[in-house]
């Protein structure tokens, strides 16, 4: 009689590995076994903070036994800029500019989560056009983030040409961002109440052209990597993270889905127009670097699908709520309307007041659960802003995923976690 393989209750799939690999004493520090420390020839090396493979300024203190990683500690904070503290001193609409600068790859997700928190406290209704356009922008941004990840991640494994291919499409996305927001990055296109500007003429055509070409481009990327023996050798079975460990360590997004957990905030707690668009949540069961690569590649295809649906279903109408106590009045009214001028002056100098309360708003950013905890005392400046950033949390999983890995695989594992240090250190 065959014994059924042990299945994970969380995913209903065979377990990636038995038990837990989370380090015993401190969950985020891999400590060298004392026996090994006495007997073995342990070499301690310092990796980073200034190293092209660390995606910013991540420092890893690594203990090696031969080529095996037996000890690891992540040291962060080199890019700490005090965003949360600074935002407490700004009025809300000035603080919006801070949020996207934390994650300079998935900036619109960060911008949206802060705006969404403000709108939740204000209990504002957003016009449908703004809702759909935000969904479109967030998905373009997801594509942008995954393209940067794919390009740099493959580059680190020696696939240099991937970088150029990915940045070609990234540039097309940045052109679209420039078209709507005037800036290629940190567009600040989302305003409390809707969008900062109407969708420009010609955007739909340009975006449609992008949607038409992008699936073929993704085929191209997969053609270049999926059939490449070196890439497969270096990613399959490397950097394992089981579903139970991923949940215990607070992982989310592609890293969690690559461990077999079917979880996506866009589907489980829909926001914006995600309830009205049709998309699949890609899940892979292997929990290795290759599974994370597969999840992100499949997510890119889903994002193109969502962008296409947003283009097709984009409603007409106003792009920002008509709420004069929060939203700047139309420019042309300032010359003729006294009230508009007063509102404009008050909003710019004093800012709008947000009712007292505390909220936590989670969204699915390209990296996982991005949360914004916002406390207001009823004044025009946030009392406390805190971001739950996926890049920060994903580093907690590094020692678990890297235990007993080869030093050469370390680069692949760091890349597969897709951390942006600006967001981790804030």
């Amino acid at each position: 009689m065959a014994i059924a393989p042990a299945r994970d209750p969380l995913t209903n799939r065979p377990r990636i590995y038995e038990g837990s690999r989370i380090p015993e004493r401190v969950p985020t520090i891999l400590e060298v076994d004392p026996v090994l420390r006495e007997e073995g020839d342990i070499l301690e090396i310092n990796f980073g903070p200034n190293h092209p493979s660390t995606h910013g300024v991540l420092r890893l203190i690594i203990q090696l036994n031969g080529e095996r990683v037996v000890g690891l500690e992540a040291v962060i904070g080199y890019l700490h800029t005090g965003f949360e503290k600074n935002m407490e001193a700004k009025t809300y609409w000035k603080a919006i500019t801070y949020a996207p600068r934390m994650d300079y790859v998935a900036y619109q997700a960060n911008e949206y989560v802060f705006v969404a928190a403000i709108e939740k406290l204000l209990q504002m209704e957003i016009p449908p056009k703004a809702t759909w356009m935000r969904t479109l922008m967030l998905e373009l941004n997801r594509l942008h983030s995954h393209l940067v990840w794919l390009g740099t991640g493959a580059l680190e494994l020696g696939a240099v040409s991937m970088f150029w291919y990915c940045f070609r499409e990234r540039d097309a996305i940045l052109d679209l961002f420039e078209m709507v927001g005037g800036a290629r990055m940190h567009t600040r296109y989302f305003q409390a109440g809707g969008l900062a500007e109407d969708i420009p003429i010609g955007f739909y055509e340009e975006c449609q052209r992008f949607c038409d070409t992008m699936p073929a481009r993704i085929d191209e990327y997969e053609g270049m990597l999926d059939g490449q023996a070196i890439f497969l050798e270096r990613t399959k079975g490397v950097g394992l993270l089981s579903a139970a460990d991923a949940v215990a360590l607070g992982q989310s997004g592609p890293v969690l889905r690559a461990s077999g957990v079917d979880w996506d905030i866009r589907r489980s707690e829909p926001y914006l127009a995600y309830d009205d668009v049709d998309f699949d949540v890609p899940v892979e069961a292997d929990g290795d670097v290759y599974a994370r690569y597969r999840v992100r590649m499949r997510e890119m295809r889903e994002s193109v699908r969502i962008v296409q649906q947003c283009l097709d279903g984009m409603p007409e109408g106003p792009w920002i709520a008509d709420e004069r106590k929060v939203v700047l009045p139309p420019r042309h009214e300032l010359h003729t309307s006294m009230e508009s001028l007063i509102h404009h002056f008050k909003l710019v100098t004093e800012g709008y007041r947000v009712p007292e309360g505390e909220v936590y708003v989670p969204i699915e950013s390209p990296r996982g659960e991005l949360g914004c905890y916002l406390v207001s005392d009823g004044g025009p400046r946030p009392w406390r802003v805190r971001f739950r950033t996926p890049s920060y949390v994903v580093l907690q999983a590094a020692p678990t995923a890297m235990s007993n890995a080869l030093i050469a695989d370390l680069i692949a594992i760091v890349a597969s976690l897709d951390n942006v240090m600006g967001e981790a250190d804030r």
Binding site: V26, P27, G250, S268, E350, P362, R388
Partner: protein, 193 residues
């Protein structure tokens, strides 16, 4: 209507803007955390947020001069506001609800599964009062608790490796506190050293 009244150390439960907040006693946080994980299925610690309420509501009400309080406990009282020499008062429209203690520590929990629910588990503490670590309940609390210590100076009790995470190891003060000035850090390697 309290769903979680059986939680160890339960103080109060409130719902606002669709979010449920459960406040528990600081001393019984560890037991409450285990209760929420094991009995209620909150297997995922999404976030640990801290807030410093020093000076909460001290800006007073904007717009007119108030009178001194009849007694320190009086709530329906308007403190003096709007200095005539500094027009454009930054005061509030009404006084916010007073907070029980200086710091709040909020654990944003998620029941990750077919029936997803979110919950905010909250404890309150004053400066120097230790908050028990929940690292053994949710290992994800590790970085969060180190950050709570680093940024807010919340003494986490029972964390195996409580050291600064975002600031330098030898940094003085806790930058997210309200009494920590913005831009007040000393300039290193300047001529004045």
């Amino acid at each position: 209507m309290t769903r979680y009244a059986d939680a160890p150390g339960f103080v109060e439960e409130r719902e606002a803007l669709g979010e449920v907040t459960v406040v528990v006693e600081r001393e019984s946080l560890r037991g409450a955390a285990e209760w929420f994980r094991d009995e209620q299925g909150f297997n995922f610690l999404a976030d640990l947020s801290t807030a410093d309420y020093l000076g909460w509501g001290a800006k007073g009400v904007a717009g007119y001069w108030g009178s001194p309080p009849p007694s320190p406990q009086t709530r329906d009282w308007t403190p003096p506001a709007r200095d005539l020499n500094a027009p454009g008062s930054w005061g509030l429209q009404k006084l916010p609800e007073p907070k029980p203690k200086r710091f709040s520590v909020s654990y944003h929990l998620l029941a990750l599964g077919p029936d997803p629910r979110r919950l905010r588990l909250q404890v309150w503490c004053d400066d120097g009062e230790p908050v028990p670590s929940v690292i053994r309940v949710w290992p994800a609390a590790d970085f969060f608790e180190r950050e709570a210590w680093d940024m807010m100076g919340i003494a986490i009790d029972g964390h195996p490796y409580l050291k600064r995470i975002l600031m330098d190891d030898d940094w003085e003060g806790h930058p997210q506190r309200k009494d920590y000035p913005l831009g007040g850090e000393p300039v290193r390697f300047s001529d004045e050293d």
